[in-house]
Symmetry: C2
Subunit: 294 residues, 2 copies
């Protein structure tokens, strides 16, 4: 399997983001055709028909006027917006955590990118309500894609945090680690936030060394994925390990171990008799393992 044949979850978006419309779109909506996605604290809200896209007609006018609104883009002449609701306003809807929502079989692949886009930008507004330059409360602008400071004039743009996630191999063996918050038996690829001034390669070798004591050699890019929890960019790389002894950083990882390619193959097929299970389909870690065994 080529890496380019793999489509990680969240990597398909049916929308054209239509940047050119952003400056004026919130004042030029089309109540008859616009669609709204309601979010509240990382939850997708569903109407009584279990649908996540709602028309203007089924929403209270005050919500349309007052809630934080982000223009997501358009397709087939229909414009899509995200609305952010307070927990109180969200109470009248069924709320499903985004990650559970995308793992439900009912959501088509082409909607995942839209959901990632919406949750990342809305989350950013909530964690960036104040100007980081001067401390003044900032205001949404540019169709929800900017926050402007009324005091110092600074313009702030949504933040995306690059993360390296690593398929680490040594011959026929692959290194998997276990975080403290993982479900029982789950092991996955090591990962970590990139730091300013780093390349993918440097970040991967640094994180691998810090977390496991393994020395990394050659690093190759494999594939990437937006990860909207809240707004990461997962950069999947293959690291060829130069050493295999493990010195686990127990502040970061509960455990780590080398497993064979045959064990990974069996785990991907759902073998429950192994001492570990691998990441679910929405995780790029699983895509990296699929790439390796194919």
């Amino acid at each position: 399997m080529n890496a380019t044949d793999i489509q990680p979850v969240f990597s398909v978006n049916m929308l054209d983001r239509m940047d050119v419309l952003r400056p004026d779109i919130l004042d030029n909506r089309h109540p008859d055709t616009d669609k709204y996605l309601l979010l509240s604290k990382g939850n997708v809200l569903l109407n009584s028909n279990k649908q996540c896209f709602m028309s203007a007609a089924e929403l209270p006018q005050t919500l349309l006027m007052d809630a934080l609104c982000v223009f997501l883009g358009g397709v087939d002449g229909i414009h899509y917006f995200a609305l952010s609701l307070s927990p109180e306003l969200a109470e009248q809807y069924e709320a499903i955590p985004l990650r559970a929502f995308v793992t439900a079989e009912s959501v088509p692949n082409e909607q995942f990118g839209l959901l990632a886009e919406a949750n990342s930008v809305v989350s950013w507004h909530h964690s960036h309500a104040y100007c980081s330059r001067c401390g003044t409360k900032s205001v949404p602008a540019y169709g929800g894609w900017r926050r402007d400071c009324p005091s110092c004039g600074a313009q702030h743009f949504p933040r995306t945090d690059p993360v390296v996630i690593m398929l680490v191999t040594h011959g026929d063996q692959c290194l998997l680690g276990r975080s403290y918050n993982f479900p029982e038996k789950r092991y996955s690829c090591l990962a970590g936030f990139m730091e300013p001034g780093e390349t993918f390669e440097q970040a991967a070798r640094r994180e691998l060394w810090e977390e496991s004591g393994v020395k990394g050699g050659a690093v190759h890019f494999v594939l990437n994925q937006p990860w909207p929890f809240p707004s990461n960019l997962m950069i999947g790389v293959h690291v060829e390990a130069q050493t295999t002894d493990l010195t686990i950083d127990l502040k970061e990882l509960q455990d780590a171990m080398w497993v064979s390619k045959n064990e990974i193959k069996a785990a991907l097929l759902g073998d429950q008799t192994l001492p570990f299970i691998v990441a679910p389909k929405e995780a790029i870690a699983r895509n990296l393992l699929e790439y390796w065994v194919s």
Copy 2:
């Protein structure tokens, strides 16, 4: 030439970042061996010997105690720190803009990564002095790698902005654009900030379409580079164009044009008779062109 044979400027760092030392290092300095890099508003400061690394002994004690200080890492038993100086305090030193400093032949390649790391983190402190969650003035922590809010308790980490920069080709032709702020005759690869919820591939096609009206097809990752002005991660990709007609977004670009591989080869060799010149050695755009013609 393989992409892996190319080392973009800023992509080599002589330091081990030594994350494990960060919590306590600023209170446990070694005045006899520590080295300090002084920065002020994007300038590297030089001492009277034209050196950018200074010992504790040659710096005022008040500066060592009071200036914003970031632990950069260590090599050969020596720890390196960045100090941020106000313009007033910087007056006694020779100041050189970072970009001019790295293009001077006197700086060894292995120091570039350190300079990128230092300028990005120091710049982040200045643009993020206040908590984006509640507006309170935050304080540096963790060896300069975090800012903590004394009011709401939020922890803030340095920001890195991913940017896609594109080698766009159609057969033997390559698309170059000209920004309004470029030096005379300079043309370079199109580029743009990635947005939340996007893949490299989506961001490249979107930016290409927005800026030039060209429809992008297959997108392949080529190489990456930290770009500390102030803190970008340049993700160099190859986009195979499906169309060639240009509709230039004149808000973003002054001009764009298709040029042949032979013209690019001549431009890389310094041919001044062409209607354009290409990016200088420190820019990944030049590396992308070198990759293409080789």
